[in-house]
Symmetry: C2
């Protein structure tokens, strides 16, 4: 079930920021899977529009090439001339203004919208924990690198900041929450999919070799997160109480966990008509670490590597700091944290890397 994706090489064009190139390559990797799913679901003879969703889309820049590939396939290979609707969904506090500008070609990103007729872009402020679309209206749902975010953390983890470092009851609490959340995500999709519709998901996972994001070779990324904060406690920069609430609301399912609801014929997911068509895991090499092999500049690597991590975990750390501290003080602690992190990367550049470990899966709703 495991395959090693080609190492990511950096594009010279500079159109995509270094911070998103890894996520973009994960999405690009899904294209053959999406096209294959599409061939199994598209009602190309039908008069009604084909409807796709891109759940957890953020600003939409990383998936433009995927959707271009999908539309090209439909127009050129499948001779589908009908209407195509792409619904970009994310939480209501997502940057929808940036999303509209990017998908409509008002930025440096190249959109597909000008290249094809009868393509309609819509935005939805619905997270994947609620319905995005009306019943039986979705042909193909897509999501990449988003569904590891739980609805919330069930418990604060003692002595660590992420479920990969949780044990005992705490680990079980996360496991239970993740099971419920995964079921909920699937049931909402089962309702909105047309019969015969498909889901293609690229979700962070723990693979059969126990690998996960930032936990492949070298020092463990989440242990580094944790270790720096523990040192901050020791040095009385933050309190023990603040440290304890630093728990990321994430879960990385194993392939078994992703498959579990489908293997029980009596589960709500099976009864809703969903079936797992295929699942495989793959590792996309950390683009920053790969780039370092060429430029060999430890400082440059550290300066580019740490901001991409910061983009997704800063808000959790910041929220854990006591509001009794002034805003300036909290900001100083956060700056101090990432500076410390950067020093560690610079001192041992070959030890740090955030390889992307994903489960790529296709799920279908049975045709009626």
């Amino acid at each position: 079930m495991t395959e090693q994706a080609d190492n990511v090489t950096m594009s010279g064009g500079g159109l995509y920021s270094l911070a998103t190139i890894g996520a973009k390559h994960v999405i690009d990797n899904t294209l053959p899977r999406v096209l294959s799913a599409l061939d199994n679901c598209t009602q190309t003879g039908s008069a009604s529009a084909l409807t796709f969703s891109d759940m957890g889309c953020a600003d939409g820049g990383t998936s433009l090439d995927l959707w271009r590939g999908v539309i090209e396939h439909l127009r050129n290979k499948k001779s589908y001339a009908g209407d195509i609707q792409i619904v970009y969904a994310d939480q209501p506090n997502n940057d929808f203004s940036a999303l509209a500008k990017i998908t409509h070609g008002l930025t440096q990103f190249k959109t597909y919208l000008d290249e094809f007729d009868r393509v309609y872009i819509l935005q939805s402020g619905a997270s994947f924990y609620i319905p995005v679309l009306p019943a039986c209206t979705l042909d193909l749902g897509f999501s990449a690198t988003a569904m590891h975010w739980l609805r919330g953390k069930p418990v604060d983890i003692t002595g660590h900041v992420h479920m990969v470092g949780a044990t005992g009851d705490e680990q079980q609490a996360f496991e239970k929450q993740a099971r419920r959340d995964w079921t909920e995500i699937l049931l909402h999709r089962a309702r909105e999919l047309k019969p015969g519709g498909q889901l293609v998901l690229a979700n962070f996972c723990r693979d059969d070799e126990g690998r996960y994001l930032g936990g492949t070779t070298g020092v463990n990324m989440f242990d580094t997160f944790n270790d720096i904060w523990q040192h901050f406690v020791d040095d009385k920069v933050i309190t023990e109480k603040e440290y304890q609430s630093m728990t990321l609301p994430q879960y990385y399912n194993t392939v078994e966990e992703f498959c579990a609801p489908f293997q029980d014929a009596n589960s709500a997911v099976s009864k809703a008509g969903l079936q797992m068509e295929s699942i495989e895991t793959a590792v996309v090499a950390c683009p920053f670490a790969e780039d370092f092999k060429t430029h060999k500049d430890a400082k440059q690597f550290a300066e580019k590597y740490v901001p991409t991590i910061r983009s997704w975990n800063e808000s959790t750390w910041f929220a854990a700091l006591s509001t009794k501290r002034s805003l300036a003080e909290r900001r100083d602690i956060i700056e101090n944290y990432y500076e410390t992190y950067q020093s560690r990367v610079e001192a041992q550049p070959t030890e740090h890397r955030m390889d992307y470990v994903h489960a790529y899966m296709t799920i279908s709703r049975r045709a009626e």
Copy 2:
């Protein structure tokens, strides 16, 4: 065809800014018309979702009550329990982040989304000059105070800044552009409406008494715009060339002009199956001027009145200023302009008012 709407009184709650209360009351006035149109188009027995659009929605705050009223009507009066989709559409550089926050209840505005199940909010970055939705998917399209914006100005108007002050060839160029644009708006809607679907539009107009926005009683608002800029030319604050390019890309149709494409059975609009069901004009009194009658504070009136005008015309004036001037200089000229305006209002408060003059119309696509 003309009726005088009740004078608008200011709400004490302060939830809606003074700047939008007038536009909101225009929308609130459309509710009976929208419900009536809805009763003629809804396939309440059908399994598929009802789909509505709100074209030129801006941040969505002013139409929340309208859509609440529509959903209440469907759920309570029509016993419709099915899915309802509301598509908010505006240009791609609209503030879609604010729209998502407002419609999802993350601001002070009260959303309807929490009150009803099976309601789906979508956003579209399509202007009404392009298709918003796939063919035959729209049940009811709505737009208020938006379709007076032309795709562009056909010509710069000599000696004035708005088509209400244009004459001769220039007036005809605007008339022609407006005729083409109105046809284009309608043809896109004809395609996306389901057979039997409806449009309810509240568009700025020139009514049978020759009244229009800011051109009812007192001094003419557009003449004031123009007069101040002409003084700025005389005083060498701006150049004649800059003044000449200060032309607002707007057109206020008469009822006859709105109706024209429907009265010719061979027009593209008629052939597309659209028919004008009803049209009437109404005036919503300027909320600022009405408020002044109570508080009688000329300074307060001027300070609240001018910003609402500024919100929709500043960008046109600014774009007309030469880029040879520094940004700071251009900003100073604009500040100077609105300060001058404010002084005029303060000096003659009873002479200034921006009454809203709209044509309210219902258009249907013939059932097949």
